[in-house]
Symmetry: C2
């Protein structure tokens, strides 16, 4: 019964996700959905990626949070359009929320849209927002056993950013073992080792994002 309800919710969600995808295609916007546990480093990653991204793309951000606008406030200095979605306790962003938020953006003036999802390593994995790629930020402070424990998230993303690698030794984490487990679960996904608060560790991630963005944006331009 509950499973049926969830299936109906997901079918409806995916239909609206497709509408979003068409909108992104029509307006030639590359869209990225960033997910993680609470406090794994999504906003810090954005803070240290946005200067680079703003130089190359017309960027906007949709911020998901249960109640506050704390993350949006942290990104305010970058002078880009930011739309805050408060889920009022809800555990994930869904396609309808994104569809609503898009009404607040001038889609003709952006070509990169970053969606920062609610901090949750379970539910957001099930909800297609119409994005082109899904990215997981995984903090090694959460322990080396998490990839298989949260396999639906780890297996379902285009890239895993293994974050806070500077804390690996103090947390007794064998980084290679963690990476091997991630590769086992998600052999096709990209894997980046980063410390989101250190821009020097973000080059590979940003280059990969560039490649992905350029594929999409160029494809759109051809139309």
């Amino acid at each position: 019964m509950e499973i049926k309800v969830l299936k109906n919710v997901l079918i409806k969600n995916n239909a609206i996700g497709n509408d979003n995808r068409l909108l992104f295609y029509k307006h030639n916007i590359f869209t990225l959905n960033i997910m993680s546990s609470p406090g794994a480093g999504k906003t810090t990653l954005l803070e240290n990626s946005l200067e680079y991204l703003n130089n190359k793309y017309k960027t906007a951000v949709i911020e998901g949070d249960l109640y506050t606008s704390r993350d949006a406030e942290r990104l305010a200095p970058y002078n880009i359009p930011i739309v805050q979605i408060n889920t009022d306790g809800g555990c994930h962003l869904d396609a309808r929320m994104i569809h609503g938020a898009l009404q607040s953006l001038d889609l003709n003036k952006i070509n990169l849209l970053v969606i920062e999802n609610v901090g949750n390593l379970v539910c957001p994995a099930s909800f297609d927002l119409g994005e082109h790629i899904k990215v997981l930020v995984y903090s090694i402070t959460e322990g080396a056993d998490k990839p298989k424990k949260y396999a639906s998230m780890f297996s379902n993303v285009d890239a895993v950013l293994v974050n806070k690698i500077d804390l690996a030794s103090i947390c007794n984490i064998d980084l290679e073992q963690v990476c091997n487990e991630i590769r086992e679960i998600n052999p096709k996904g990209e894997l980046f080792k980063i410390a989101a608060n250190n821009r020097n560790t973000l080059h590979e991630w940003l280059s990969w994002l560039d490649k992905k963005a350029e594929e999409i944006i160029t494809q759109g331009n051809k139309k």
Copy 2:
């Protein structure tokens, strides 16, 4: 529509939660629901609390996990009854799952039941399992801004265990500021600063648990 569905789910859940509560009362079992983000330290807390608890109580554990039995395996050396619930991707434990797990335990032979919930700082807060107290393990590596961002969890528990305090300075966390924000959101809740991997930091937590357990178990004995 979706909200209506959720309300129905919660009404049904709470009815079964009450059945569980009656069972716990009837069998004089003190029950504890431990929640947190992924990797905040629930299992490590249990590993370092169980020796003490086993000396005082007849303890059993219900382990919630999406797919694996990794946490249950970590607790196997303590030689206590452990029931593993795999939610198959589900984001929380509910009262029905606990009711099912209770069938696998000899309730006449235990007086302390510890439930380790699925790692998720959002959904488990909404589901009454019939437990006597709810406890949140919050790792300071998740950042100082989390209490207000995840207010439904922080405000809804009997105690917050602020964990990994040994990493506070390396993570640039002002521990007092974090504690003040927690107290603001949950003025009645207990607050313990711990490093779950260091038993010397667990005395206050265990004493408090003793007091709570003894209240319940004594009440039961009077009947």
